[in-house]
């Protein structure tokens, strides 16, 4: 049991939970601060795609997979973040 619980993936899981609470906090209590408005939205989107990257790299084991898979997944994360954030921020 210890082999499964005390692992790198458990640390990543805790990080994912902390990022979830951070996004929720920024969105719920960040009003009136620098993180409110469109900037806060971009921060929330950045957290979301960073979490998605952690899931891909560590849970889906892409970190240890073929280079082509690593490159393709990184391209998806970066492109999707840029496109989605731009549409949100510039209201395209």
């Amino acid at each position: 049991m210890r082999n499964y619980i005390f692992s790198k993936e458990t640390f990543i899981f805790i990080l994912l939970v902390l990022f979830t609470f951070s996004s929720w906090y920024v969105s719920s209590f960040g009003k009136g601060s620098m993180t409110s408005g469109p900037v806060g939205g971009v921060v929330v989107l950045f957290f979301a795609f960073f979490k998605a990257r952690l899931v891909i790299q560590y849970f889906m084991e892409v970190r240890e997979a073929k280079v082509v898979l690593r490159v393709l997944t990184e391209i998806w994360v970066v492109l999707a973040l840029i496109i989605v954030s731009s549409i949100y921020y510039f209201q395209l």
């Binding site: 806060g40 849970f59 998806w76």
Partner: protein, 202 residues
């Protein structure tokens, strides 16, 4: 002849395992994952484009969503994903009793997600809000509905995996277990982006 076949079968399985490390789950699951990621990226982009056009309507509608449901569902799916990571580890260590336990816990979390989603839909419908109420709720029901469909498919796959391991029958292959886990993680990943888009964006 039979002896020769038996001799050949063992190294093949090991080879399969080595290949799995290079491309977990095999090529098929990754073609599916990339297809789904591209389609959902389009959904996210179209949603945000509509949001930009009717900002006030989307903000007012989003503020009526129950944030607690969204937050708890995110935590439930993350936990479910982590259980499947543990299940795959146990499978590789041939610790099948733990594979069963972790996959059961993952299924329970998945069912909890479905249950919470049903409660959330029920809450909205009882408030007179539906698919045709406005553009925001059209996106809300369609996007979360498509995601919920993925969750149900994932639950069927995990249940198949769990049932394959009953009666100490351990014939299920490593790439099948890996592909099942990858699909489940993709369901988690999609929700990780959907949650802030629908519930959190200021």
């Amino acid at each position: 002849m039979q002896k020769k076949q038996a001799k050949n079968s063992r190294p093949l399985k090991e080879e399969e395992g080595q290949n799995a490390l290079k491309l977990p789950g095999g090529e098929g699951i990754w073609v599916f994952v990339f297809g789904d990621l591209v389609v959902f990226s389009l959904f996210f982009s179209v949603f945000l484009s509509y949001r930009g056009d009717s900002l006030a309507l989307f903000e007012t509608s989003a503020s009526t969503l129950n944030l607690t449901f969204g937050l708890v569902n995110t935590l439930v799916l993350l936990t479910s994903s982590w259980f499947m990571v543990c299940a795959l580890k146990a499978f590789r260590m041939k610790d099948y009793s733990y594979v069963k336990r972790f996959s059961e816990l993952s299924i329970i979390c998945g069912l909890l997600f479905v249950l919470l989603k049903v409660f959330e839909y029920k809450e909205k419908i009882s408030d007179g809000i539906g698919l045709t109420s406005n553009d925001f709720f059209m996106f809300y029901f369609v996007l979360t509905g498509i995601h919920l469909f993925h969750v149900v498919i994932g639950l069927i796959i995990l249940t198949w995996l769990r049932l394959s391991l009953r009666h100490n029958n351990h014939s299920v292959s490593a790439p099948s277990v890996e592909a099942s886990c990858i699909f489940w993680h993709m369901v988690d990943l999609l929700w990780i982006v959907l949650f802030p888009l629908l519930y959190l964006l200021p």
